[in-house]
């Protein structure tokens, strides 16, 4: 029996291993592959697409959601979710404007980061130590922080301006031809990737997302890891909001509505599993760029309304998650 089985088992495991590897590659780099394909198609179809100014435009517009999505990736890697980022993004912008009006660039950076970090601390505490569902905690955060934004801007009617030249320079200056926020976002991706792949803390993030009970048995500080990712997410969203406000010289209280959804979409499209334990910031980078390129291409057509864009993004997200679910099933076999 066993003699008859063994030779046939050989080739099967080889093809299976190959299939699993292919599924892994598609899962991790699917977004990047589609991004390249879409860019090629776009360049052929629209002569105004492959221009330097358009590309600069795309990367600048992507940099703010990318910074938010970096924090979101950390949260999702632990199997959590952060719905509050859109509100925190707005809070960061408004507080940057207020902070810079009395404290210059130091106040303009410190105030939003401290407050948004505190939002992350509170949410992280409730999730990690009070053991409440991340979805509910950050949903409450979404409401409360937006309420806070309205409260400090007299109901959203007040748009504080940024007049501090140093903070304006931070948001509007160019480094190597691109906006400074692009540089900050890319540095964020690199630092985050090194942390995730090379540091003990980053590995703990992946382990907790992979299996919380196994991580507990291995003696990892599960609660502290979960707590930290919400603080990171709050800081990222606050920083993105600050940079966005510095870029546009004003802290608009209504920005960031629905940002949590595009950030989650980008992370998921980038190959990070929503159940946690697996994913990468490079994938998130590709996911954010992909959503921006889709939006840009729809704008290139011109005659299409912006509602087409929501339909396309929604359908695209559905297709991606179907693929991912099927792929991760193939890998587990």
């Amino acid at each position: 029996m066993s003699i008859a089985v063994e030779p046939s088992a050989g080739p099967t495991t080889v093809t299976q291993a190959r299939r699993e590897r292919l599924a892994g590659v598609l899962q991790g780099y699917g977004a990047a592959i589609v991004l390249v394909l879409l860019a090629v198609v776009g360049s052929v179809a629209f002569p105004t697409f492959p221009t330097l100014s358009n590309f600069t435009n795309i990367v600048t517009q992507s940099s703010f959601p990318l910074i938010v999505a970096i924090g979101m990736t950390f949260v999702i890697l632990t199997g959590g979710i952060d719905l509050s980022v859109g509100s925190v993004f707005a809070l960061g912008g408004v507080l940057a404007a207020y902070g810079s009006s009395w404290g210059g660039i130091v106040g303009g950076l410190l105030l939003p980061l401290v407050v948004c970090g505190t939002v992350g601390v509170v949410q992280g505490f409730l999730v990690a130590y009070a053991k409440m569902a991340p979805f509910i905690v950050t949903l409450a955060g979404l409401l409360a922080v937006r309420g806070l934004v309205l409260a400090v801007t007299s109901g959203g009617s007040n748009t504080p301006l940024i007049t501090d030249p140093a903070l304006q320079a931070l948001g509007q200056s160019h480094v190597a031809g691109v906006n400074s926020s692009v540089v900050i976002a890319i540095v964020g991706v690199i630092v985050g990737t090194v942390l995730l792949t090379r540091s003990r803390g980053g590995q703990s993030v992946l382990a907790v997302g992979g299996s919380e009970s196994a991580s507990t048995y291995m003696g990892l500080p599960v609660a502290r890891v979960k707590f930290s990712v919400y603080v990171i997410s709050g800081l990222c969203a606050g920083l993105a909001g600050t940079l966005n406000a510095a870029y546009s010289s004003s802290g608009v209280p209504t920005v960031g509505v629905g940002l949590e959804l595009s950030a989650i979409s980008a992370v998921v499209i980038g190959g990070t599993l929503l159940v946690g334990g697996r994913g990468s910031l490079i994938g998130t980078l590709a996911g954010v760029l992909l959503l921006s390129v889709i939006q840009n291409l729809i704008n290139q057509v011109g005659s299409l309304s912006s509602s087409v864009q929501s339909v396309v993004s929604g359908v695209f997200l559905a297709i991606v998650v179907i693929f991912q679910t099927v792929l991760s099933r193939t890998q587990r076999l």
């Binding site: 509910i136 609660a223 959804l261 929503l274 997200l317």
Partner: protein, 322 residues
Amino acid sequence: MTQGTLTFSLPRRGAALAVLQRYGVYIAIAVLLLYNLFFTPNFFALDNFRTQFVQVVPVLIVALGMALVIGTEGIDLSVGGVMALAAAVIPLYIGYGLIPVVILVILVGAFIGLVNGSLVALVGVQPIVATLSLMVAGRGLALLIANGQLKSVTDPGILAVGRGDLAGVPFSVIIAVILVFGVALLVNRTTFGKQLMAVGGSRRAAELSGLPVKRILLLTYVLCSSLAAVAGVIGTARLGASVPSTLGNLIELSAITAVVVGGTPLTGGQVRVIGTVAGALLLQFISATLIKHNVPDAYSQITQAVIILLAVYIQRGRTATK
């Protein structure tokens, strides 16, 4: 699950907590009503309660469907998109009369539910992402259908749904009461209700005991979206206008809050229909109280957030023991 959970929640399991878990939402409503009796002029007027009940209807109907989905350990973010679709479809076909339009709108809702349910049950996508994609696509589609425009709805039949009454009771409230009874019967008195909660309690156990898990999940999402479509009809009827850009915006959050505050655990396996009604009413009374005392919208959002957290924190002990 872990040692931390045990030591953290053991000393809290008192009788007072048990009472709070079971009756917290009703106690909160009673306290709020008492407060208003003494401190809010004109709160206890028939007209005011009529307004409150009419205003709560769309959220309540959406929350009923949401409670079913949450009972299966799922979530449905697409309900606002379904309401927008309903709003967009109504002016196109209102010429055929009220009943055909309502049936058509419910079919559109059911179709969205079928897509949600297929993604969740057949493909195995997590409910939050599956319904997220339809939340985005649904409203986009609605805006495409309506060309991004706001249209007034003048058909007397549909206006009656939103503004008419029967012996002083608004039609929309009557519809909501009928739906509450229908869903309560479905959950507590039918095999489907028991099966739904079995799936939410443990999908694996339900599968092993031979329940048609996929069919149950599909039907649950179809029911949720159909109810959202009804809420879309009532919302449009009340406004007298089709507003696909804003109708039902963020309603998923209010509906989830109502369900959770009403005592249905997010971990599935239980559905509290009357609790959901109480949860929706509590949220409505809170915002009404804040408005009547001229509290800015900003603070009412913060209050809502604190109430969600409190409710979930109180429920926490019960879900942990499950």
